[in-house]
């Protein structure tokens, strides 16, 4: 007979185990490497390794002229490309004093809000995919195709719209487009309500409620921006606080959506409801669209050479939060310095706080909920492990080092 009651003594106690998550991982569409320290199933510590998408755009832009830089800046990110060019052209317009016409500003706002809808729908689809709700993922991406069709009609391109130019926009709206936009917005509004109902489903609720909580005070301390901050109840929105383009006239049309919970569901819901606000703004833009020319008569290359030496800081509310550009021109149609601070760069700081204490299986859901756009984010930072010293290395030093390495 087998003696019962004698249990094997387990002497092994789980110590910290390091799990590499990424950079090539099925749950991530972009390369980021998370070094996750776990105890059993629980996440104890997280280390983020960036730089897999570092293309050296800032230094590349400094060697090109403004028209080329405008093209390059758009290629920072494929999802929020219009935000990048708007921010860049705004800075140039501030330096040079060129004023875009009212109609151009309205059209910029229109594309901006369409981009927000497209970006948020993309994120909602990815959220559904991470939760394991593939049908909803397919449905949201199907809705998103409608917006991409409109982009193609208006600007000629699905992803990189190339809408902005110095002092205006490149394409105009025709009356048929306005009609089609109106019809499409109604459809999207209906679908959004359906998606909202689907997200209220029990399965989604169980995967997202109370997960990855970022409370209000911590969100302020970590300087989180955009929907991630609004999901934690931080009341910031560049569109309302520092209006640009035509947002000054839109103040009464949209409200800033806030949620207090700070969990994954709150962040997702903020994005969902922001789409409805964007639809309101687009309707108002179409309603009030002023007449006039959309861009200056002069060629962009002539305009570019006229821009004097100077520097400016420009802010926009990209779909993921506050986007900041610092531009310094050299007066000969080139750039002396370009500095980009993207929203994900500030949002990634909170990743450690929201991940610690959760299970390994929840990592993709939580990471997706802050909507990381890593191609915007990569910087060169070197951390000295022994004394914890952190120093940001300039491109020149790095280049020298790289060359030295290659010479050997």
């Amino acid at each position: 007979m087998i003696e019962r009651g004698i249990e094997k003594e387990v002497e092994v106690e789980y110590t910290r185990l390091r799990i590499h998550f990424g950079p090539v991982h099925p749950a991530l569409k972009e390369p980021v490497s998370l070094r996750v320290f776990v105890k059993g199933e629980e996440v104890v510590d997280v280390d983020i390794v960036l730089g897999h998408v570092h293309r050296g755009i800032e230094s590349l832009a400094e060697g090109r002229n403004l028209a080329q830089a405008l093209y390059l800046v758009e290629r920072i990110c494929g999802i929020c490309s219009h935000s990048h060019t708007t921010c860049f052209t705004q800075a140039l317009e501030e330096i040079s004093g060129i004023k875009p016409s009212e109609r151009a500003l309205y059209l910029r706002t229109l594309i901006f809000e369409m981009e927000r809808i497209h970006s948020h729908l993309l994120l909602l689809g990815i959220m559904a995919y991470e939760v394991g709700f593939d049908t909803l993922f397919m449905f949201t991406w199907h809705v998103r195709e409608r917006i991409l069709d409109l982009f193609e009609k208006i600007t000629g391109n699905r992803i990189h719209h190339a809408m902005n130019t110095i002092g205006g926009v490149r394409w105009d709206l025709t009356p048929e487009m306005v009609k089609e936009l109106d019809a499409c917005l109604g459809e999207i509004e209906k679908s959004i309500k359906y998606i909202h109902d689907a997200f209220m489903d029990k399965t989604v609720e169980k995967r997202t409620y109370g997960l990855g909580v970022l409370d209000h005070s911590r969100a302020i301390k970590l300087c989180v921006v955009g929907p991630t901050a609004r999901g934690s109840g931080v009341n910031i929105d560049v569109r309302r606080d520092h209006p640009y383009a035509a947002y000054n006239d839109m103040k009464e049309v949209f409200s800033v959506i806030l949620r207090k919970d700070g969990d994954v569901y709150a962040r997702t819901e903020v994005r969902l409801l922001e789409i409805l606000e964007s639809i309101n703004i687009i309707r108002m833009v179409l309603d009030r669209l002023p007449e006039g020319s959309i861009r200056p008569e002069e060629n962009i290359f002539r305009l570019m050479r006229k821009i004097q030496e100077g520097e400016a800081v420009s802010l926009v509310e990209a779909p993921r939060g506050e986007l900041l550009y610092f531009v310094k021109t050299d007066g000969k149609g080139g750039l002396r310095r370009l500095k980009v601070r993207t929203p994900t760069f500030s949002n990634l700081a909170c990743l450690k706080h929201v991940l610690v204490g959760h299970e390994i299986a929840d990592i993709p859901v939580i990471v997706a909920s802050i909507d990381p756009c890593l191609s915007c984010t990569n910087r060169v930072t070197i951390i000295n492990r022994e004394n914890g010293e952190l120093n940001v290395v300039g491109m020149d030093t790095l280049r020298r080092r790289v060359r030295k390495k290659w010479m050997q």
């Binding site: 093209y71 494929g78 991409l148 191609s375």
Partner: protein
């Protein structure tokens, strides 16, 4: 026997997608190619999570310095016979980022590429066509 296997390969090429520093534009178009409007899955394609299961490698982006060893590793992990499709202008020629110190690409400087899909970003139909052409030419 061999003909049966190659026929099977043509009917169900499994795809692994690797981002080597792209701007996301091509990546969302690759994913869009799998969603209902374009539906690459009707050709038997499937987006898989591991290179060991894949027949087709989709490379997007100019190859950055940090992703260079990963690209080689992922390429070596895919079992023979394999097909590589470079998606987007960056992967095909490195165009907007040429001259940067951080770029090692384009992809064909590092691994053999069977099909190029150009465009910034290419439309999902173009990606579908690129995959189908590469598979038909190599696996037949």
């Amino acid at each position: 026997m061999f003909r049966v296997i190659s026929r099977g390969r043509i009917k169900s090429p499994w795809i692994f997608h690797l981002n080597t520093g792209s701007c996301n534009g091509c990546d969302i178009e690759v994913v869009a190619a799998f969603t209902p409007r374009y539906d690459l899955e009707r050709f038997g394609c499937l987006l898989v999570g591991s290179p060991r299961h894949a027949d087709v490698l989709l490379v997007t982006g100019p190859v950055t310095r940090q992703m260079l060893p990963r690209l080689i590793r992922v390429y070596e992990q895919i079992p023979e016979p394999k097909v590589v499709v470079a998606v987007g202008t960056c992967a095909s020629s490195g165009s907007p980022f040429l001259g940067s110190e951080m770029i090692e690409g384009p992809a064909d400087r590092i691994i053999p590429v069977d099909a190029y899909v150009v465009g910034c970003p290419p439309r999902p139909e173009a990606i579908v066509k690129g995959v189908v052409m590469a598979v038909m030419s190599k696996f037949r």
